[in-house]
Symmetry: C2
Subunit: 666 residues, 2 copies
């Protein structure tokens, strides 16, 4: 398809196949390596964000969250701890404090990549210098073990997060190098990776192990891409393949050590879900894993590395394992918000269809991990299912983790609160705040990908994107009223000399899509089976590809095996899941009932500028009788319901909140 367009097509198309519910994000087919065109995330300097929704948020992260988190690292003693034994008056940081520091460097570097800032850069450099000074002559770098327990180096891979920290340092080193061109941290992490490669492996004298918390694997893939050194990729592959092999490494190291692990007292016993091999995704070799299990952040980081390796080693069976795990996760263990992890007990998965709301874990980091995995799957197995899930998690499970002011965070994200739940400034284990900062400062790398003569738009952010084609550089300006509206226009600002393809995800949630090119309707046959509109032609400056999605309120019902949501309905509009909050609706919210037909009024929420609420006609159950149990049946009276996007909850006090509302017709 180049410049010859059909003369006339239906202007309102069914491109989004409304018969297939948008949350059916799981179904895939097994067909070896994908035939989808491959793509990689667009480098950060090639894109800008200029829209009404994300740009202000990223600005908040840049101007408030990043400096605020730097101050937090100072406050809790992390920076002092890099240079020596933590002082008792700082409190003892958790054993993996290096990773908090590394993620802050990574977030700051992403910010610097698009917003040069000498003060921030100097701040970063100061921390980098602390890390460089802490590196040991053999390349080892972990300031807990160097400063507190040098004799315990690499003796407790299961619990001590040593390679997890290394992974985050490596990610930070790559990000820092890409943003600033400097090698001050990259050199450090290359030496660290080389040291790890010398210590770990299947050779004589090497430690045949892997980390309890995956992270180093995906970091080493990034390092290989940055350095061109294939040994880092092979080390990543070793760690992924070794996981789940017999004999069980964590038992072997425990026998050598002669003590229980680092968190020996943290769990209640050997049968605790935080003590099973599933917890570490080490119950089977990765190609034999069939279900998403265990600690959910660990799972996402592992699966992301598996997808990376499937891509870089062209490994069909690894891709197949990823697809199988994706299918399982999305069909049985994902909250309607895109959050994952059903319980605090193992910070992870429980059993199929167990998705309790008041006790949901849905850790912010796990939502980010799902986005990371989806981003990688989109590069090798492009399909709307991954893009829709990434969009869902971003707008709901992840964005809820950050307050409007950029300085308060949710670690876990419940889907219902009886009140009393608020975001916090920091956490003893502070993985989530810097994780959301690094996500938002690198958001364009999730939104855009470049392939062979192709720009793929997974998420319509307003702004610009440039990419290289065989005919030279090309560039587009995207204008959109997303996420509240459905109109997105992609205008060519720089065309190059050769044909190229613009591909744009048509989300599963739309009730239809009007497609047009330079104002002329496009046939909806241009939306492929993968859910992407793809137009290939020799583009001219000012050509405009436009999509108008049908953004309507949708009601969702859960699989009846999700027993906690039986008789309940969730409301979505566009990418947003909505929730009732006590700030707008008198408690108890459990007494609200939502009918199946009413259409909403859209109203800006008082106290939440720019946030669109839904006002719907519903009912309220009114009890009769008294006492704990009464034989007088309750009745219902009409009631107006105001729903706000889930991400915006808990910015106006700590009242009740509920995503799932009583279905008036059950």
């Amino acid at each position: 398809m180049t410049s010859t367009l059909p003369a006339a097509t239906a202007s309102a198309s069914n491109a989004a196949a409304p018969d297939s519910p948008h949350h059916d994000l799981a179904t895939t087919t097994a067909d070896g390596m994908s035939s989808a065109p491959a793509s990689v995330p667009l480098p950060l300097p090639q894109a800008t964000v200029a829209d009404g929704f994300w740009a202000p948020r990223i600005e908040v992260v840049r101007t408030r969250t990043i400096p605020f988190q730097r101050a937090q690292l100072e406050r809790v003693g992390h920076l002092r701890a890099l240079a020596g034994t933590p002082r008792p008056e700082d409190g003892v940081p958790h054993v993996f404090w290096d990773s908090d520091v590394a993620k802050w460097i990574e977030a700051a570097s992403y910010s610097l990549a698009t917003h040069p800032d000498p003060v921030l850069e100097a701040d970063v450099e100061e921390v980098v210098a602390l890390l460089a000074a802490a590196q040991q002559p053999d390349g080892y770098l972990n300031t807990h073990f160097t400063n507190v327990a040098p004799e315990q180096r690499f003796t407790d891979l299961r619990d001590a997060h040593e390679l997890y920290c290394a992974g985050h340092l490596i990610e930070a080193g790559v990000a820092h190098h890409r943003a600033t061109g400097k090698t001050t941290l990259l050199d450090v992490v290359v030496r660290l990776a080389d040291h790890i490669g010398a210590v770990f492996g299947r050779g004589p004298g090497q430690l045949r192990g892997y980390d309890g918390h995956e992270e180093v694997e995906l970091a080493l893939v990034k390092l290989a891409a940055a350095t061109g050194d294939r040994r880092h990729l092979e080390l990543a592959s070793y760690f992924v393949e070794e996981r789940g092999q017999e004999p069980f490494f964590f038992d072997l190291e425990a026998d050598r050590r002669g003590t229980t692990g680092w968190f020996g007292d943290h769990f209640a016993g050997e049968n605790h879900p935080g003590r099973t091999r599933q917890y570490w995704q080490a119950h089977a070799p990765v190609r034999e894993q069939h279900e998403a299990v265990g600690h959910s952040v660990r799972a996402m980081y592992l699966y992301s590395a598996m997808a990376d390796l499937a891509r870089d080693t062209d490994d069909a069976s690894l891709l197949e394992a990823c697809r199988r795990l994706w299918d399982h996760l999305l069909s049985a263990r994902t909250y309607v918000t895109g959050g994952i992890g059903s319980t605090v007990i193992n910070e992870g998965f429980t059993r199929d269809h167990d998705l309790p709301t008041e006790t949901a874990y849905a850790e912010t980091c796990a939502g980010i991990g799902l986005m990371m995995w989806a981003q990688r799957m989109l590069g090798i197995d492009r399909h709307r299912r991954y893009g829709d899930a990434m969009e869902l998690a971003l707008h709901n499970a992840v964005l809820a983790g950050l307050s409007a002011d950029g300085e308060h965070f949710f670690y876990d994200n419940v889907l219902a609160s009886r009140g009393g739940i608020e975001r916090h400034e920091w956490f003893h284990v502070a993985c989530c705040p810097p994780n959301i900062a690094r996500l938002l400062t690198s958001l364009t790398s999730y939104a855009y990908a470049q392939g062979q003569d192709e720009l793929v738009i997974h998420l319509a952010l307003g702004g610009t994107a440039r990419f290289e084609t065989s005919g030279g550089w090309a560039g587009v300006r995207i204008t959109t009223d997303a996420p509240w509206g459905g109109r997105t226009a992609v205008r060519i600002e720089e065309a190059g000399t050769a044909p190229f393809t613009l591909s744009l995800r048509i989300p599963g949630w739309t009730a239809g899509a009007r497609l047009s090119l330079n104002g002329e309707p496009l046939d909806d046959g241009l939306v492929g089976a993968d859910g992407y509109l793809s137009v290939t032609r020799t583009w001219q400056v000012d050509d405009e590809l436009a999509v108008e999605l049908d953004v309507r309120v949708r009601r969702l019902w859960a699989d009846p095996r999700v027993t906690t949501e039986a008789g309940h309905v969730a409301v979505t509009r566009g990418p947003f899941v909505y929730a009732a909050e006590e700030a707008d609706n008198p408690a108890p919210l459990v007494d609200l009932r939502l009918g199946r037909r009413s259409e909403p009024d859209l109203v800006e929420v008082p106290g939440l500028p720019g946030v669109i609420s839904l006002q719907l006609r519903g009912e309220r159950v009114v009890r009769e009788g008294s006492g704990l149990y009464s034989d007088q049946p309750p009745h219902r009276i009409p009631a107006d319901l105001t729903l706000v996007p889930y991400y915006a909850w808990a910015n106006r006090g700590a009242g009740e909140m509920r995503v799932w509302l009583g279905d008036a017709e059950r």
Copy 2:
């Protein structure tokens, strides 16, 4: 009111005040010591049980449960452990194994009180001899501490259950003496009580402490009644009054000991609900306690002792504390089954209106504890609220703990199961099986009480009851079709020479009651504000007082603050709460909906002889669409529902079960 009866009264009365829902078991008024006539439980030899429901059950306990439990004590090594260090091949019993043995002796003694059985008596005597031999010269008796850790005697009152065991031994000693007339065990426990009285108290050199698990308090009250020795009562009073005083005894003993407690590793940290002062009801002096908190069995045993002491010391403020705690428990923390305790985490209470069903704890022992407390409150503050709660717990929360075969037990009692839950033969901590055995073998002491020239019938069991009046012995024969039907007749078999009163509880659940004397209708004004029908006259042999209750299916709705039951309805009939089971209704039960009007057919359940099920017209929700979340609304189709009494569940496989069903009209 003697022999002069009103000439004519309405034959169908509203004696049960249907406007006040039967589950409103909480409301009391504060008026110092009660003006209700006092009464005490009828001694076991003065009653027999001969009906279609309880008699066979008690017979199962006598002929199967008691011998079976004796064999279990043998199997798990408890009896060998009385005589020496437990052998590793027996497994190490929990530290309070003496209490399991004691409760078995108590249950066997209650059985012997009404069913002499030389073989069982010899069996008991053999165990008593082991205990007597284990008693130390100073009177101390605890075979764990004597055989395993003699140097730790009375060093860990908080966790080691030392006085708890003593309490159960004392109860056993009193029961054994009353049943057999022997003093072989009574002498032992008197020496034990004297030893405890020497060790504990506020005098010089005494240990000013109390046990982490209440039990010795109520046992000492029983001992005082059996021996007439008021020192035992004073010791009970000391233990009750000392609880919750400052400085906090469990901290003091921990400092002295220099180690964490016996269960130091059992709980996850100092903030664990099993580590708070509330857990032990030691957060405040008992008169300043306002809410039922902590471990629910411990709470019930404490409150029972408080009621005992209020009676025996005529203490109005202690009675007032009991009433306040009762009000709180019944108005905010009791399951619809009469079960108490919302979580396994502390085996106890959480917060008001937190009554989750799938994770309900509702320990069988706690239900028994509620009955024990209610029995005592009825003696000093007679009111239907206590009798109704006792009846509710007995027929549901407690009876569910025992299988139809008498050899399988529930420790905790969920109100909903997704399948996989079954009764067990025994438990490592085996408090519940012998507890239910001692309850059922002493059931008539809960059903009947004697006052001054009065017989009080709290529960209508079929059988006989004799009691002493100022005109000599009197006796009645009770015939009843309870618990399935509502007709109870009390016929005089022995009248004595003086007037006396027959009092009979009219339960709150009835929709009305026809009262009659010798076939002549009685005025419903004879039912007092306390909910008891009381008739005083000079009775003649063959006089018959009869009550016909209106037994209908009732639907109950929970206070909306019980969020887990919003939109749900529970079904009761007479004293029984009903449940849907997968054996009768296709899973998933969460899809069932019950309308508000349909009347049931009563049908004997296949596989459960004698059990009456309810067959009701309802609906089933059928989902449309596919995937974890679908935008296709579910619809409903007609469906027949079969409900069985809750106590009878899990006798036909381990399928799904639900007490609360979806309300078709929400």
